[in-house]
């Protein structure tokens, strides 16, 4: 055994210890991040899951022609503007006789959502034969009742600290005893647009807005970015001052705060080109600006990594540069390009800041039908709901986050499937 061997042997234990420590750091940091992720998911899910259920109230309503002031021969307009809330109020009063005082009467009316009257209206217009008869319907419960039914309001609290007063509790208990309260799956959350009333508020407007916005973003940014990347990689002259400037700019654009793109969209698209604000079109245009650098950089890296031997083989056989690009380079680069695109789109899907600048933060109750309709998007909807004072919006905010996360997971899944499909081995 010579000197070197003993020196090496002496140092070995230290080296291995260092390796073990390094591995430990990795495990620790991974566990910490995993823990945080779990905490985050747990809070979101535990808060949001109740929002997928909604309390309904069963009422026996008499569609009194006199009270409504219409009959079977009335025009649709007259039927539309009749006061259906009176019928509902009467039905509640019959169920709970002897309620006195303005405040208590209002509280009684507020057991069911305002949408009950609209429900009734739609039913009557669809079938005027109902007029004059007595019917039993399930109506949406008001948000306070819903929150109480989900156990978020403590009965044991003193009355003045409770949103539900003692007399309301009495009504609710009576309704429960008669099996007139029931929790069902909250379809409103997925079929309605936004509303100031939590029980009527839904995500459909925001989901459709996001879908249209993403569609515009994808249709614009993918072809432009891939074309730009392909040009810069395969056709642009090397060592050209202009090409260098363009490259520097694209790389720096990826680091520009997103709100700046919103300001740009406001100044250029809205003020100069006069594109209607708050629409998925303008949102898509702004988000395109934001995602372009991401996709271009990913596409360039991906195109660059296509083995030159494949391109040479095609050129050697007499393929033109265009044919090489479309038959070999792009198909082989496609997995990477798609990954970049999905990353960019996921970023855009979760983006709020630039959309605030172009009016997509507005309260939009209608579900948009196209890219020209005013709309909002999911992250903005989450922001709006989290800002609302009603207790029932807290769980809906978490539910909206869950839906957004669901869409992100879906997009990633889609990306993985596409990548697997396009991936080729050599």
């Amino acid at each position: 055994m010579n000197d070197f061997t003993s020196t090496i042997r002496a140092g070995l234990a230290k080296r291995y210890a260092r390796e073990r420590r390094f591995r430990l750091y990795g495990v620790v940091s991974l566990s910490i991040s995993f823990l945080f992720l779990l905490v985050l998911l747990f809070t979101i899910f535990s808060k949001g899951l109740p929002a997928f259920q909604q309390t309904y109230v069963k009422l026996d309503v008499t569609l009194d022609e006199k009270l409504l002031g219409i009959n079977r021969d009335s025009t649709e307009d007259e039927m539309y503007s009749a006061k259906y809330s009176k019928v509902i109020k009467k039905s509640l009063q019959e169920m709970f006789p002897g309620v006195e005082g303005r405040k208590q009467k209002r509280a009684l009316k507020n057991l069911v959502s305002k949408s009950a009257a609209y429900d009734l209206r739609d039913k009557v217009i669809a079938n005027p034969e109902l007029l004059g008869s007595q019917q039993t319907y399930w109506f949406l419960a008001k948000d306070d009742v819903d929150v109480f039914m989900k156990g978020k309001i403590d009965r044991a609290l003193p009355e003045e600290d409770r949103r539900i007063k003692d007399y309301q509790l009495e009504w609710i208990d009576k309704l429960s005893a008669q099996n007139r309260l029931e929790k069902r799956f909250n379809t409103v959350l997925f079929t309605a647009g936004d509303s100031r009333e939590p029980e009527q508020a839904g995500l459909k407007g925001a989901i459709m807005g996001s879908v249209f916005t993403m569609l515009v973003t994808l249709l614009l940014s993918f072809p432009i970015a891939v074309a730009a990347a392909a040009y810069l990689e395969e056709f642009a002259p090397r060592n050209n001052r202009w090409v260098d400037i363009i490259e520097i700019n694209i790389n720096n654009l990826a680091a520009v705060p997103s709100i700046v793109f919103g300001l740009l969209g406001l100044a250029v698209y809205i003020n100069f080109f006069g594109i209607p604000r708050s629409t998925p079109l303008i949102g898509g245009l702004v988000l395109t600006l934001m995602t372009l650098p991401t996709i271009i950089i990913a596409s360039r890296a991906s195109i660059k990594s296509v083995p030159p031997s494949i391109k040479q083989a095609a050129i050697g056989l007499g393929a033109s540069r265009m044919q090489v690009l479309f038959q070999h380079t792009l198909p082989l680069a496609m997995p990477g390009i798609l990954t970049g695109t999905i990353i960019g789109m996921a970023q855009a899907l979760g983006e709020t800041a630039p959309l605030l600048m172009i009016g997509m933060v507005a309260f939009v109750a209608e579900v948009p039908n196209g890219v020209f309709d005013p709309a909002t998007v999911m992250p903005v909807q989450i922001y709006l709901w989290s800002d609302s004072p009603e207790r029932a919006f807290t769980e809906r905010t978490s539910a909206a986050i869950m839906v957004l996360l669901g869409f992100l997971v879906l997009m990633n899944l889609f990306a993985i499937i596409l990548r697997k499909k396009f991936e080729r081995r050599w």
Binding site: P237, R238, N239, D244, E247, I248, N251, R300, A301, K304, S305, P307, P308, S309, I310, K311, Q312, A313, A314, I315, G316, L317, G318, A319, S320, Q323, H328, L332, R424, R425, W426
Partner: protein, 297 residues
């Protein structure tokens, strides 16, 4: 190349070929200090298939090839030998204008194929590359099926009018490349799944599917084992009947086995061209002798 992206972390480094840094020249040694004064031997033949006169090639400011004059005869195999960085591959790529793909590369001189100017205004590089095929050092089949690999050229140029014609063409090309027996049941399997030697024969089949007149081979066997090499050499011998071939090789034994004529390149100069027998038994130039006797290289 002062590419901005190249300086960013995480970006793949560009292919050295694309960047234009050609292989470093051999460092000076005593055996090298022999004066080169023009080409010795017989660089010209009667009725050449291809010919080059006063060929200079520059990579940006660096000159890689100095005044090369060479003829390539019909249906012959000419071997190009020489140490790394001597310009033999660069010269090969002059013949089918592959150097066009390197933006900083500049080629001067007169180059003809059957008397037509290769670099002339009327010459279409696509047509030229269909007439002058190429096989590369590293087997580079497309990540497609064996059939699609061979069918790529004919499809590209519209050489088969229907499916059965295409199938015939693919089959005959594979037969000529000596690969058909081995793959006839696996035509739809990926070409990249073959062994190295089979892949290289697939590349040869792909090159001859468009029926070129000249086939350029850039060290076609340097990535293969001796058995696969022997197969390819036999194949070249058979192909000689119909094609003119130019082969760049580092193996002097290979040059001696397959070629009729041999050209020795050195530091960008064409030093000697002679019949292969003569080059390997009785070289005219001192440098050639030093190289083939293994004093260097």
């Amino acid at each position: 190349m002062t590419d901005v992206l190249g300086t960013l972390p995480g970006m793949p480094t560009p292919d050295p070929l694309e960047s234009g840094d050609h292989k470093p020249a051999v460092t000076s040694r005593d055996e090298f200090d022999v004066e080169i004064s023009g080409t010795v031997g017989v660089p010209f033949v009667d009725k050449p298939k291809m010919s080059s006169r006063n060929c200079d090639v520059f990579y940006a400011d660096k000159q890689a090839i100095f005044d090369v004059n060479l003829d390539i005869g019909n249906n012959e195999i000419i071997a190009m030998i020489g140490p790394s960085g001597c310009g033999k591959s660069t010269f090969l790529r002059v013949l089918n204008r592959m150097n066009d793909t390197i933006s900083i590369c500049r080629v001067t001189g007169e180059h003809t194929l059957d008397g037509d100017d290769i670099y002339g205004k009327n010459q279409d590089p696509v047509l030229l590359r269909a007439r002058v095929g190429m096989v590369f050092q590293k087997p580079n089949p497309f990540p497609k099926s064996i059939f699609d690999n061979v069918a790529y050229g004919p499809r590209l140029h519209g050489l088969a009018s229907n499916r059965s014609e295409l199938e015939d063409l693919v089959e005959s090309s594979l037969i000529k490349a000596g690969l058909f027996k081995e793959v006839k049941d696996d035509l739809l399997k990926p070409g990249t799944g073959l062994s190295g030697g089979q892949q290289q024969r697939l590349c040869i089949a792909r090159a001859i599917a468009v029926n070129p007149e000249v086939i350029l081979m850039d060290e076609p066997t340097s990535a293969l084992d001796p058995i696969a090499t022997a197969t390819i050499e036999e194949l070249m011998d058979e192909l000689k009947e119909n094609y003119t071939m130019v082969i760049v090789t580092h193996s002097m034994q290979q040059a001696a086995r397959v070629s009729q004529r041999t050209a020795y390149f050195h530091m960008g100069y064409l030093v000697e061209v002679n019949d292969t027998n003569k080059v390997f038994t009785n070289p005219e130039h001192k440098l050639t002798e030093n190289y083939i006797t293994g004093r260097f290289g």
